[in-house]
Structures are given as structure tokens and as C-alpha cells.
């Protein structure tokens, strides 16, 4: 089966969806028209049927491996066993993109299944630089580092997040994964301006864009946005996506959906929307020149 590679050809070829286990059988059977697929690396580290299915799909789609458990912010360094598993998975599945998060999740032998926040200061920067360098050296490739959704800020943080990511990219040569929804959620939760936030990223480092839905939680008088990947992309986030495309160009774009997983068809509809938004944003960009 011939399929367009995302680095060549149409806009549609650069737009993908996150593949989750409940959709696997359907995607294997129907091979829907979508530019590329991304999976969570940790779900394919056991050499069982999930991995066999992934290799099967890999023949027809470019693949993104999105790690959620490497814990790039761990001061104790990366877990070597986990890094080895990731290396093996990368070697066997030959992904197009490999990404992780600016976050931590591991401490003292326990894996806390969440992307936990870091104090953004020089000390943390040194830790993350070291960890990203080791990851890139081990995997023999560039990785993309994603901005996590933020719910709190540490008092001793001294570096704004976009600047932190920009410096990380400069020092390590890593790329950035710009999660537009996360920027929106973080900005809303921590009283910042999302557009300004986005404008702080170095355009030539952005190698991928994520889009997802969020929900709202009430805490007394105040509302926090929760990045649960459990709904359609919100209109505000679509608007910010246009913004991102104008700044970063047509970076590979991914629709993520984890909680309340809908029929796969709805993910494809969101991907088509991304394609329309991208076409409009990039045409606008051309006019402006």
C-alpha cells in the first residue's frame, strides 16, 4: 500500500492522530486515511500482541513514539533500564519522531504516573540538559521535548517556561514539541498570556505540534483547566493553533485523545479540521508576505 510520507507532499500527510489500544483492531482492519500515527512508547515495551500490531501498522504509516515515563526532570538521572527499553523500541519500530516531556515522574524507585512540574531555575536546567543529552546519545537521534500542562508554579522558579525550553533546545540540540492545548491550559491556570507564551519558543526548534481537549474543574471561586485529553479541541485552542502555524510553519500536527475515548471517526474528523485550519493559516501567511 502506497502512502504519502509526512515530510513530503500534502498538508494532510503531516496531520496524524494518537492511537490508543481500544482503536487498534479497527485501525488494523480499516487502515484509515491519515498522515501518521503516534503512540505512547511505554505501552509497547512488552513484546506482546500490542507490539506485534504496532509493527504491522508501521508498514503503512509513519510513526511517532511519544514517551511519558522517561522523567527528563529527575535529578537522580535517567532510569537506565527504561532508557534501554526505549532504545530497543526505537530500533525495532524506526519512528519518524520521538518525543518526551519537560517534567518528572520518577523518584526513589517509584514511578508516579503523572507529568509532574519542575522548579524552572538554573539547577533544573542543568539536570534536564544532562538527561536530554544522555537520551539523545543513547537513542542516537534528536528528541523533541514537550511543554507540559501546568497547574502550579514554584516560588523559586526564575526562568519563564518558553525561555527554559529555548535554552534547552540551544544547549542540547533537541527539538521542541509545542503542545498548544498545554500552553493554553498552563496560561489560563497560572494567569499568563498564551499567545505571548507561544511567541517565546524558537520557531526553528519546533518539530511537532499537539492538539487536544481539556476540561474545567471548579475549586471554590476559581476554575482550573484540566488537561485530560477527554474532549474535542476547544475553539480557543484552534485559534492558538493558527497562531502557532503562522510562527512555526506546517509542523507535523497530532490530535490526542485519551479519556472518554470516542469512536475513531471523531479523531479523523478532528484531523480534518486541523487540515482546514492549517490550509487557512498558511494561505493567510502567504498573503501577508
Amino acid at each position: 500500500m502506497e502512502r504519502a510520507r509526512p515530510h513530503e507532499g500534502s498538508l494532510a500527510a503531516r496531520i496524524g492522530v494518537g492511537l490508543r489500544a481500544p482503536h487498534m483492531a479497527e485501525v488494523l482492519a480499516s487502515r484509515p486515511a491519515i498522515g501518521w500515527l503516534e503512540v505512547h512508547a511505554e505501552n509497547y515495551m512488552a513484546n506482546g500482541p500490542a507490539f506485534e500490531a504496532l509493527l504491522e501498522l508501521r508498514r503503512d504509516y509513519p510513526l511517532g513514539l511519544h514517551g511519558v515515563g522517561l522523567s527528563l526532570g529527575s535529578a537522580e538521572g535517567l532510569d537506565r533500564a527504561h532508557l534501554r527499553s526505549l532504545k530497543e523500541l526505537v530500533e525495532r519500530s524506526e519512528p519518524w519522531l520521538v518525543s518526551e516531556h519537560l517534567a518528572w515522574s520518577r523518584v526513589g524507585g517509584a514511578y508516579l504516573n503523572d507529568l509532574l512540574p519542575l522548579p524552572l531555575d538554573e539547577e533544573t536546567l542543568a539536570v534536564v540538559v544532562r538527561n536530554v543529552e544522555l537520551a539523545q546519545e543513547t537513542l542516537s537521534r534528536r528528541i523533541l521535548v514537550e511543554n507540559p500542562s501546568g497547574y502550579l508554579r514554584f516560588r523559586h522558579s526564575t526562568i519563564p517556561e518558553p525561555e527554559f525550553l529555548a535554552t534547552l533546545a540551544r544547549r542540547t540540540g533537541c527539538g521542541l514539541l509545542c503542545d498548544v492545548n498545554n500552553f493554553y491550559v498552563s496560561a489560563a491556570n497560572c494567569a499568563e498570556d498564551a499567545a505571548e507564551y507561544l511567541a517565546g519558543l524558537p520557531a526553528d526548534s519546533v518539530g511537532e505540534i499537539h492538539l487536544a481537549g481539556h476540561s474545567r474543574g471548579r475549586y471554590g471561586e476559581r476554575e482550573l483547566l484540566i488537561d485530560d485529553h477527554g474532549a474535542r479541541v476547544s475553539e480557543k485552542v484552534w485559534a492558538l493553533y493558527k497562531n502557532a502555524l503562522e510562527r512555526f510553519g506546517m509542523a507535523p500536527t497530532l490530535i490526542e485523545w485519551d479519556k472518554n475515548l470516542p469512536p475513531f471517526e471523531l479523531l479523523l474528523a478532528e484531523a480534518r479540521r486541523a487540515e482546514r485550519e492549517a490550509a487557512a493559516a498558511l494561505a493567510l501567511d502567504a498573503d501577508a508576505r
Binding site: 511505554e42 513484546n47 527504561h82 504516573n113 482550573l224 484540566i226
Partner: protein, 253 residues
């Protein structure tokens, strides 16, 4: 932060967090909720029948207690939950659910089987390569997905009545006798079946790495009419043998 998230000891952490509304504690709580909700979902997917037996709210309560004491050790969560059955067995609020831990053990074997690789099955002709003097030391390695469980309770019937999507109102007589079960992956599905006491003894012994002759003795002890040739043929016919191995020769005494 680990103690703050898992055990709620946040006194030393909160002063480090900006306290703007809704406050540092509420902000930290988002992460705690993410952590507990996501891992409770992981456990609920591995143990659907246990969850149904105790109901959703009690399951969340037991999962919370388990998670805070036994957080995952690795980011690949396919192996998470192995200790949950032992935890339930010792969890005082579950004392009256005498069969619960065994149902959890069964669900763990099913989960494990569903993630196991399919090794190539060995043909019975491979036995002919074993020199006769080595036969007493011969061990049979079974398929990685194969799991065996024995319970004093009819956990197969309990599981069938409580697996997801069933509406069974069948009353299960807990005194109807126990179960000796084998679970394994066949292509994309996991199958469970009952074994006779002698087959169960035979296969459990092999699975534990004992020699074929030790396994045969155990099967004969369970049932004097155990037929080794038939049991061996059956193992190979089912494609359950993954490899042959020789136990180390006994040291001369």
C-alpha cells in the same frame, strides 16, 4: 513531593508553591488526582471482575490504599498490579470476600497472558534429540503466556459471572468445590480451562522448572492412573512447549 502526593504529607512542600487562588493545596491536588485516577484506571482494566465483585467505590478505595503503599516501580505499566492480589488477601476490609484474592490472581494471569509474546511451539520430534542418559534431567519450558492457578473456591465460575459485559444472575455455590485452571494466550485471545488434578500437578511442576520425571511423580501422586505418554502428547499437540532444557547434573555425593 512523592510523600505529598502518595501519603498526603504536604506541609513541607506547600510553602514552595505560589499560593494564588485556588491555592497551593488545590493546585497540588490536581496532580494527586491525576496520579490516583490514572493508576486506578490501570488496575480497573486488569481486574474488572474484582471491581464488579466489590463495586466501583470500594474498588477505588482499595486501589487508593494499594497505590499509596505500592506505587509502580517502572513506567511500563503492563507489569503493574502483580502484588494487588496479595494486598487484597491481607486487606482487612476484604476479609469476608474469601475468594476475592484468588479471583484477582486469576485476572492477573489473564492480563499477563494477554501481554505475553507468542513463542514458536516445539514439535514432539525435538525430544528425540535428547540422549537417553540425559532423560532424567529433562525439563520442558512452557509457553510464556501459560499460567496455572489453584483455588479452594470456584473462581472460574465466579469470574465468568462477573466478567465485563455479562448479566449473569447465577447463584454460585461457594462450597461446590475449588478450581484448577490454566490460562494462556492463543493468537489475540486469552483462553481459560479446567485441568484434572493430575494434569494440573504435572503442568505446575513443569512450569516451576522441575524435571519431567519429578513432574510425572507429582502427577502420579495425585492420580495413580496418570498417563505420561498421553499427557506429553497433549502438551505438544496444544503447542504449549516452548523449549527443552536439561537440569544441572546432580553433584556426585
Amino acid at each position: 513531593m512523592r510523600a505529598a502526593l502518595l501519603e498526603g504529607e504536604e506541609a513541607s512542600l506547600l510553602p514552595l508553591i505560589e499560593d494564588d487562588a485556588p491555592g497551593a493545596a488545590a493546585r497540588l491536588a490536581v496532580h494527586r488526582n491525576n496520579l490516583f485516577a490514572s493508576l486506578t484506571t490501570v488496575l480497573a482494566e486488569v481486574f474488572p471482575a474484582v471491581r464488579r465483585l466489590v463495586d466501583e467505590r470500594f474498588f477505588a478505595y482499595a486501589a487508593h490504599a494499594f497505590l499509596s503503599r505500592h506505587p509502580p516501580k517502572e513506567a511500563c505499566l503492563a507489569g503493574y498490579g502483580e502484588d494487588f492480589a496479595d494486598f487484597l488477601a491481607a486487606f482487612p476490609p476484604c476479609r469476608d470476600h474469601v475468594y476475592l484474592a484468588d479471583v484477582a490472581r486469576l485476572e492477573w494471569l489473564m492480563h499477563r497472558a494477554s501481554h505475553a509474546p507468542l513463542s514458536a511451539a516445539l514439535a514432539p520430534q525435538s525430544l528425540s534429540a535428547i540422549p537417553s542418559e540425559a532423560t532424567p534431567r529433562l525439563c520442558l519450558r512452557l509457553m510464556p503466556s501459560l499460567g496455572l492457578i489453584q483455588s479452594a473456591w470456584p473462581i472460574d465460575r465466579i469470574w465468568r459471572a462477573n466478567r465485563p459485559g455479562t448479566e449473569s444472575e447465577e447463584a454460585i455455590d461457594l462450597d461446590a468445590g475449588g478450581a484448577r485452571l490454566e490460562v494462556r494466550r492463543r493468537e489475540s485471545e486469552v483462553v481459560m480451562r479446567s485441568l484434572t488434578p493430575s494434569d494440573f500437578a504435572f503442568r505446575s511442576s513443569l512450569a516451576a522448572g522441575e524435571t519431567l520425571s519429578a513432574a510425572t511423580e507429582r502427577a502420579l501422586a495425585s492420580d495413580a492412573s496418570f498417563d505420561l505418554a498421553a499427557a506429553l502428547a497433549e502438551l505438544f499437540r496444544e503447542g504449549a512447549v516452548a523449549a527443552l532444557a536439561l537440569a544441572p547434573a546432580a553433584a556426585p555425593s
